[in-house]
Amino acid sequence: MWKYVGNRLLRWIPTVLVVLLVVYALAFFGAGDPIKLIFLRAPGDVAYNAERIEVIREEAGLNRPFLVQFGDYLKHLVQGDFGNSLVSGRDVGSMIKNALPITLQLGLVATFLLAIFGTFLGVVAALHHNKWLDNVISGFALGIWGIPVFVSGPLLMVFLVRYLNVMDVPYGWHGLFNAQVILPLIVLSITPMALIIRQSRSAVLEVMSEDFIRTARSKGIPNIQIVLKHILRPILTPIVSQMGLITINMLNNAVLIETVFGIPGLGQLTVKAISGSDYPVILALVFIGSTVVLTVNLIVDLIFPLLDPRALSKKEVKEA
């Protein structure tokens, strides 16, 4: 198993290197001079002064060739040093340390919510196959999947706050146990929930046609017991297999949701970094994003055989 994990990590390294190289090249060749950004917040009354700019460039090591600078960046990255922000001059690592827990909490709670409600709705839909309840749930799942969160979020907000008046304006971050977090959580979990509903629905439909369900039925076991004992277990696999896709979806949506609701997490950091051309922050965010996706995919692959031993044997056959 450790060999498998090591293999995956080795294959991940070139991916991240390529992505970082692309962003670094964009910063180096495309975005204009980072010196001017540093220059703006340089101490003292420095007028626009070519000599002074050259000095700062020399100090920051920004006059060296591209690959040397990129190698230098990687060396620092391996040591856990993301560099300093070009805009605020703060340590990027500490900026991320402040923002990451907020996004992480939102993401984890949203994942929990969507797994529970999504499975429930999917199972209910499958048990009422082709009846009106199934049509409503399937139609909901199909309709909601494409709608971007910056549309569903504001629309829900206008509806709930202005017309129904059931909640205050959700803005900012006041901890996970504050009522203001409810709407962002709903919006964040509702899009990927559609995926879980569809997956669990089709999984249940497949399981229901299996022989052991018919056997259980013919023995007179009540429906609720069949669902709990025989159906819920096999549908875990297709749901777990979607986690990688859901993580990417959530990372992308976090950027939009945190903008809409003013939450100071990774997403807001991203938007600020992009509008300020703050490349050290952008590079760190790209690195963290790819790491999170890799980790989730790795965990999924590792617990997959525990849920469904057939998956492991298939994989072994394939690799042999």
Partner: protein
């Protein structure tokens, strides 16, 4: 009597079905799929909504009561009325007209994104299949790579960092050539948005097209046709394209919808189409600033985008069922 009539009818139907099957493959597949598609109510509603969207996009300037730019500072933030169907925004511009022009932006951009990504996808996929070996392995790796990273962030960065140098290059070109083409910086937005979005959309197209070519190329009927001396061009036209068409059409519709959402995402984040050019994304972003006082500014573009994305979802679902009879049961 009734029974025999019905029997007669079924007999006729089977005969007709058989005749359909022996028809030209391209026509029968499409006809078949179309019959299943129009039987799906959701898909029909989706088609109607998308048809209206395209109608708005093409004939927008002739329908809109006002120009999307004309301001009327005496009528700012007006609630919806008969003069202004969706009200006016903070500069007194008619929101209905702006939403219709937004449809134009959305259609132009999503069509060009989809066509470009299919072009790249087809070329890359075909190169992969026919070159084989290391080149194919590299292409598959590239496809996997782009699909396993949070690509939204990456394209936003690409878009944001290429814009300033491109605009300054255009200014330089204008000063040198005095050609007014280089003054129209609005096209830089369009080109950058669809260029960078095609960058994350082509891998999916390449994967599907590559898979299709790979599976059809080695089918017995292609081998038979080749053995009996049919020219490569004719094989492509008669056998490969008609048989690959189903999944490609499904993907085309899905990509069109996704591209529309991505375009508005870009504009919402402020890296896509810039105001005053209306895009649903930047209109939502504008509306979000004053939503508590004037919710109508936000509601109109957001509802349009929501309805259109739903239409694409339902159409995609219908197309998927129509072109995959085996899955359809």
């Amino acid at each position: 009597m009734k029974l025999t009539k019905r029997l007669h009818k079924t007999e006729n139907l089977t005969l007709k079905a058989r005749l359909d099957k022996e028809d030209v493959p391209a026509e029968s597949l499409l006809k078949d799929a179309f019959r299943r598609l129009v039987a799906n109510k959701g898909a029909v509603v989706g088609i109607i909504i998308i048809a209206i969207l395209f109608f708005f996009a093409i004939f927008g300037p002739y329908i809109t009561p006002y120009d999307f730019l004309s301001q009327n500072l005496e009528l700012r933030n007006q609630a919806p009325s008969f003069q202004h169907l969706f009200g006016t925004d903070d500069l007194g511009r008619d929101i209905f007209s702006r939403v219709i022009y937004g449809a134009r932006t959305a259609v132009i951009l999503s069509l060009s994104i989809t066509i470009l990504s299919f072009l790249i996808g087809t070329i890359v996929g075909a190169i992969g299949v026919y070159a084989g070996g290391k080149i194919d392995a590299f292409i598959v790796w590239l496809i996997d790579l782009t699909m396993s990273i949070p690509s939204l962030l990456l394209v936003v960065v690409i878009n944001a960092s290429l814009k300033p140098p491109l605009i300054s290059w255009m200014e330089k070109m204008y000063l040198q050539t005095k050609n007014t083409i280089f003054r129209e910086t609005i096209w830089v937005d369009f080109i950058l948005v669809f260029g960078s979005l095609a960058l994350i959309k082509w891998p999916k197209a390449a994967r599907i097209i590559r898979g299709q070519i790979l599976s059809i190329k080695n089918k017995n009927y292609v081998t038979a046709a080749r053995a009996s001396g049919v020219s490569t061009f004719r094989i492509l036209l008669r056998y490969i394209i008609p048989n690959a068409l189903g999944p490609v059409i499904v993907l085309f519709s899905a990509t069109l919808g996704e591209a529309m959402v991505l375009e508005s995402t870009f504009s919402f984040l402020g890296v896509g189409v810039r105001p005053p050019m209306p895009s649903w994304g930047n209109m939502i972003s504008d509306g979000l600033r004053v939503w508590h006082l004037y919710p109508h500014i936000l509601i109109a573009p957001a509802s349009f985008l929501a309805v259109v994305t739903m239409a694409f979802s339902f159409l995609g679902d219908g197309l998927n069922d129509a072109f995959n009879p085996r899955q359809w049961e």
